[in-house]
Subunit: 273 residues, 2 copies
Amino acid sequence: MQCRTITRTEAAQLAMVLEVTASPKPGNVDRGHDYPDTRLEHFLASAVFARTALEHAEEGEEGIGALIEAAVQDTNCHAGGNTHFGAFILLIPLVMGGDAARGFRAARATTVEDAVAFYRAFSATQVRVLERDEIDVNDPAAADLLRERGMTLYDVMAYSAERDMVAREWTNGFALCTETADRLIARGTGREAIVRTFLDMLAAYPDTFIAKKHGPAVAEETMLRAREVQAGRLALSVFDEECLARGINPGSLADIMIAGIYLALLEGWQWDC
Amino acid sequence: MQCRTITRTEAAQLAMVLEVTASPKPGNVDRGHDYPDTRLEHFLASAVFARTALEHAEEGEEGIGALIEAAVQDTNCHAGGNTHFGAFILLIPLVMGGDAARGFRAARATTVEDAVAFYRAFSATQVRVLERDEIDVNDPAAADLLRERGMTLYDVMAYSAERDMVAREWTNGFALCTETADRLIARGTGREAIVRTFLDMLAAYPDTFIAKKHGPAVAEETMLRAREVQAGRLALSVFDEECLARGINPGSLADIMIAGIYLALLEGWQWDC
């Protein structure tokens, strides 16, 4: 049987599925463990429910902000809370553009209306934000403020880039997503390559989701523990248990991992060998 | 955030995802274990790739035979072999019709061309068939034979019904799929209900996939072992290990389980509580 080429949308959905099932991934939901309120099935259901928004992105039908909002709305039909919000911030422009360079162009071309739609999506999730966020996502006046200042969605991401590595990807041309894809391809095929690449990234960069939740020192410490694993001085399973016991989940690097798998799949990376 | 109603297509995809991740399921691929060549990711990828064929079924755009063929073709883009062929035989008419009664009407209305398309799909999979199958799926003359005899896809299923419980569902109005849905709803919510319902079905009916692979005595014996588990005389984990060690995988009941989850979801069964 002739095997067809998968679409960008399917590559994005497959990336979400492969990321969450790869195991062990220190601190995150994976095939081996859940969090009490967010389980493997929630992530998998979210990957299924994201289809329409991703397809619209692939067809270039709507603005990026509206598509992120649609993806969040369509995938929120479960009790597991936010699952892929950060992943959609990366995947929607990447699926719209196709690759990192064109995704970056799409990101830079966003408008104020994209920013307004994004803030609506943001306020609908329970995503952790800094207390001192200048533009409070729960503030109905946020839309007015964005319009008043003429802030595009790109501007919003640039505004958050310093403390949020997912937002930062918008401003650096998806540099870490591309690095993840390159490392993944270099690491070989299949789920083992995903686990090793995730550890590579964890050892290379402090996760900003951890930093927001536990403070920058804990994010730094987690990075150093990942280096201990790579140096063979700490068992991966022990590191995993440490993270789980302390509620340390590298959520931003997981989002970047998903986008990296997506980019690698488009380059022909073999996931099922 | 207002939660939308999921579509039939999404319910079918979600059913595939929930069935394969529920664990432990004696002998089958689940969250806890893979087979060497067919792994959890293959089933999840297949659930993602089935989208278009299921959508076309929901829109009633094509014939059931052509849609089963499309589903098999679209999901065959991995090295994991046949994953959901039996599930598609059940899901395509059920998604087309909506529920079991209307799915049954759609099944009875199939044509000779549906049968011809189905045989093309069948020959593309490595699904086990009896050696003495009168209509050899690998025989290019099968299409001519079907046309000569005027056999519809419904007739083909009726022809296979005695020794194949998935085909039998077409002839009895999806009786076991409906029973599975009823049991699932009665068993409560979430993944634990899936595991318990699967065991209920395993204890109630000999699996015809096991019968084809290992003979009817092994299928009967597996049913009796499932009853031992239900009676508390055998640990589920031991039963699971026994099945795995002997390559006993109840694949037909897994297909029926998927269709049962689909029907239950349409009736509002809560999967994520």
